[in-house]
């Protein structure tokens, strides 16, 4: 059964009389417990799609169905709690003057949920942080720990879907591995559905089952993980993105240069 169905979605920004169309007619569906990837360069509209799904952006047309319910212009709290976002920059997305506990309580207050203290402790444990971290401020945490808090904040409403907007781009390689492992574990344990936005093909291929490659507001290709790993993608832009994640490719190969495949092997 599909968790998210998007049909002819178009999203624009700006004044309704002179809209700038950022997403231009995309359709896809994401199954329950699947991870769907969106990849493309900056400004191609990948985060905008997440914004429309999360209810952050209201200037969209088309049909969105989440968990069997058609999404309209107005959503109930229950509908909004169904999908939660995790943002790129753990330094910018947590309130600097609020403790971790305060940050985690806020969604519960907005949604009028009780059993708050218990939920905060459970969710901190879920993301692998000590419970006493609730008394700390964001500046007392490392980048990886902060991203764990951001994931905890998204999980505290017990959503079915996590919308991940470049969750590891601001982190070091070693920390990125921890967060990617955590996301993989959480998906299995909590039976979550993910939509992951990234510009790194290796990260997307690691986490996702299917990936949509975006350029200028449309999907140029939707590929499976197997296609990426086997290298049987068809669109040239997808190939450019794949080469990009392997590193630099000199224009004129020099004698000492070995292809990325050889180096890795």
């Amino acid at each position: 059964m599909s968790m998210i169905t998007v049909d002819h979605l178009a999203v624009s920004y700006g004044h309704p009389n002179r809209p700038t169309r950022v997403v231009d007619d995309v359709s896809f569906d994401v199954g329950a417990n699947e991870t769907f990837g969106l990849i493309g360069e900056s400004g191609c509209g990948k985060s905008t799609i997440l914004g429309a799904l999360a209810g952050r952006n209201k200037q969209w047309t088309g049909r969105i169905t989440i968990d069997g319910q058609m999404i309209g212009a107005k959503r109930s709290h229950e509908q909004l709690a169904l999908q939660q976002m995790v943002f790129q920059d753990p330094f910018g997305s947590l309130h600097p003057r609020h403790t971790i506990g305060r940050i985690l309580l806020e969604p519960l207050e907005i949604h009028g949920i009780n059993d708050r203290q218990n939920r905060v402790e459970t969710v901190l444990r879920d993301v692998g942080l000590p419970v006493n971290f609730r008394y700390r401020f964001p500046h007392q945490l490392s980048g990886g720990q902060r991203q764990r808090v951001a994931i905890a904040r998204a999980l505290i409403l017990k959503p079915r879907i996590l919308l991940l907007d470049e969750p590891t781009s601001a982190l070091d390689v070693s920390i990125q591995a921890e967060i990617l492992n955590l996301l993989k574990d959480l998906r299995k344990r909590e039976n979550l559905t993910y939509i992951l936005v990234s510009h790194d093909m290796a990260v997307v291929a690691h986490l996702c089952d299917r990936v949509a490659v975006m350029q200028n507001g449309i999907f140029v290709e939707t590929v499976t993980k197997k296609q990426i790993i086997d290298g049987t993608v068809t669109h040239s832009y997808t190939k450019v993105l794949m080469d990009g994640s392997r590193g630099y490719v000199p224009k004129t190969p020099i004698a000492t240069y070995r292809s990325p495949v050889d180096i890795a092997g």
Partner: protein, 293 residues
Amino acid sequence: MTFWTRAMPDPSPLPLDPILTVRNMSVGFPSLSGTIPAVRDVSFSVGREKIGIIGESGSGKSTTGRAIMRLQPPGAIVKADALRFEEIDLLKVSEKDMLSIRGRRMAMILQDPKYSLNPVMTVGEQIGETVMLHEKVSRRVARERTLGMLERVQIRDPRRVFDLYPHEVSGGMGQRIMISMMLIASPSLIIADEPTSALDVTVRQQVLSILDDLVTERDIGLIFISHDLNLVRSFCDRVIIMYAGRIVETIAAADLNHAKHPYTQGLLNALPSLDHPRDRLDVLARDPAWLEG
């Protein structure tokens, strides 16, 4: 089993004609509770090659680059047994002389052109300023040189771009402008601090190939500071791996997969790879012994 200590000879061949020699350089920041070391006893030399410095945030890679340029933050203490750039002793040279070295003989490319270009000066004026300052040429000559340089970094319409302000150009174009600004005075050493981290994959390839061509064509040295292992191993000739302010390993880029130090191995294994997909990524287990080597 501490075969990666400094006592061992450098496994990669040393450049015969070093442009820059750094011996036992340390950079520390004084604080109320004593000096906090950011860089500890690093030694390396750079010839006419592309050398990469890899490390996590806080490993001291940018501090090393800045200390070489003598651009360390005020208050920082730089100590070294030797810090030699061509015939100049960087430890002794005055700030006044440094002004004629920086930009002319060694230059630095920074991460994000959005923040490192002057927002209230046109692109052309900024690039031309370097030659006017260092070579005392007229505005007209500087303009000609700038237009030539812009063309060299593959900007299609140099005359139009010359009069643009930094906010009017894209990230990739901004970084090419930065490269042209740094290379116009023909320096012999370029320090590039994460020059492509703010760029898209597609643009990154183009900017790197321009940088690659210029470094090869002019036969100069490049220090390429980055956190991207795949990028450095495919772009550079040699790689320096830094951890907690120390160099843990120096290795030829092609041999990175056979790196000996557990930290380097850990970093490589933590990387998701298209060629070797794994269900779980290895998490780096930090050994306190790495701090002291």
